[in-house]
């Protein structure tokens, strides 16, 4: 993969256009207080509400093929992909390079989705429902992959690319090791592409991404320590490259109560202090809080660096969370879950 060499001193003025634009786009996101109201609507009402927001175009276009929860699921993913593609289209130079590097996570997401779909024998149209072509791999290519007969055919299509090594970990029995390797590959590639450039913008991207890795690892630790899984297995699942990498790796396999006590004093502790008690049944509430913390972190960093990649990153994660929240509400409603349970899972920064 070609690596773009960026100048040592990034000019903040390059970011003026894209940051102005994402800040305006941010005002069009669904306000936090709307989620509580959406919880009290039924699915057609939610669809009607979304028609008044930025999702209008997708809802209108897909309304003839789908209805109910399916319509909203399709429309939100279509809108997400469109929004991210737009960010790439309206930026140039260093911001575009960094945005693409960050959005490559959707390539990983799409490959994972296709592998999972093939693993469980889903049809190609079923798989395409969950595809978000926001990264480098475009819809046509992904559609071609989804139409392939088996997982091995999909893996063969990536021969000669960066993904080949991670995909070779597939053992025919489970996807866990491949998915883990793909996640690690994403962060490794970003470090390689951005880390070598020494640009100020790239440094800020990595600063945020390192915190993101920490939070992801922390969520893994919460889940696995809660389940009482052995330290070596937990460590295998941690993503290297985080700022607190070694400290978190030492926490692997600790008894849950000790692990939670050990987290006091970290910057993210205030976000979870009231829900992270030793006797908590599920970790989903902690997960939601940690994700909300990450969004707040991105926006608070962007206050210090207003003309940088950080407001764009803040927007990207906020938008992703918004789509995830809408889908959680809709799916929860469809399954008849109580509102409190849905609310617990939602990420509100």
């Amino acid at each position: 993969m070609p690596v773009l060499r960026l100048p040592k001193f990034g000019k903040p003025v390059k970011y003026a256009y894209i940051t102005g634009r994402v800040r305006a786009m941010k005002t069009k996101l669904i306000p936090n207080e709307m989620y509580a109201r959406m919880l009290n609507m039924d699915i057609p009402e939610i669809a009607r509400y979304l028609e008044e927001t930025q999702y209008k175009e997708e809802i209108d276009a897909l309304a003839k093929d789908y209805s109910g929860a399916e319509l909203i699921e399709h429309a939100t993913f279509a809108n997400l992909a469109k929004t991210y593609r737009k960010l790439l289209e309206v930026s140039i130079d260093e911001p575009q390079f960094l945005i693409l590097e960050y959005l490559r996570r959707w390539d990983v997401w799409n490959i994972k989705t296709i592998l999972r779909g093939k693993f469980y024998g889903a049809s190609d149209s079923e798989i395409m429902k969950y595809i978000v072509p926001a990264g480098e791999l475009d819809r046509e290519f992904l559609e071609g992959l989804a139409k392939k007969d088996s997982i091995n055919d999909v893996i063969a299509a990536f021969e000669g690319t960066d993904f080949a090594e991670a995909l070779s970990k597939y053992d025919g029995k489970s996807l866990a090791s491949v998915e883990n390797a793909l996640d690690k590959l994403y962060y490794f590639r970003m470090e390689r592409a951005v880390g070598g450039t020494l640009s100020v913008g790239g440094g800020l991207l990595l600063k945020y991404v390192r915190r993101e890795i920490d939070i992801k690892n922390l969520i893994t630790l919460f889940r696995m320590n809660k389940a009482g899984i052995e330290a070596s297995i937990v460590q295998e699942n941690l993503i290297p490259g985080g700022k607190l990498g070694e400290e978190l790796s030492r926490m692997a396999g600790q008894p849950y109560a000790d692990f939670v006590r050990g987290l006091e004093g970290y910057p993210f502790w205030s976000a979870i202090s009231d829900v992270a008690t030793a006797d908590l049944d599920g970790v989903s509430r902690i997960e939601a809080r940690l994700k909300a913390y990450l969004i707040r972190y991105a926006w608070s960093l962007s206050n210090y660096h207003p003309l940088s990649i950080l407001p764009v990153l803040g927007y990207i994660v906020t938008k992703e969370t918004e789509v995830a929240n809408i889908r959680k509400i809709v799916r929860g409603k469809e399954a008849g879950l109580p509102n409190e349970l849905i609310e617990e899972q939602m990420v509100v920064a």
Binding site: A16, T19, R21, A24
Partner: protein, 85 residues
């Protein structure tokens, strides 16, 4: 004061006056490039912001007025030819 010295001095004054306006203009331009780009970005999403955006864009323009005022003072406050008139 010899008339030639006065001429040189007046010439230098004119250069100073030019620099005052010129450098102020360059400074305002540097300031405006970022604001202009950001305003265009916002207006692309929200056309209603155009009025406010233009106002923000014109803020650095006030610096040129300072420069211009200094130039005018330099040019008209003293003239070596005043005695000749």
């Amino acid at each position: 004061m010899a008339i030639t010295d006065a001429g040189v001095m007046y010439g230098l004054l004119a250069v100073g006056a030019g620099l005052a306006t010129g450098l102020a203009g360059i400074g305002a331009g540097v300031g405006e490039q970022g604001i202009g780009a950001a305003v265009v970005g916002v207006v692309a999403e929200e056309p209603g912001f155009l009025g406010k955006g233009l106002f923000l864009m014109l803020l650095p323009e006030t610096l040129i007025i300072f420069g211009l005022a200094v130039s005018l003072i330099l040019m008209f406050a003293w003239s070596p030819f005043a005695a000749l008139l």
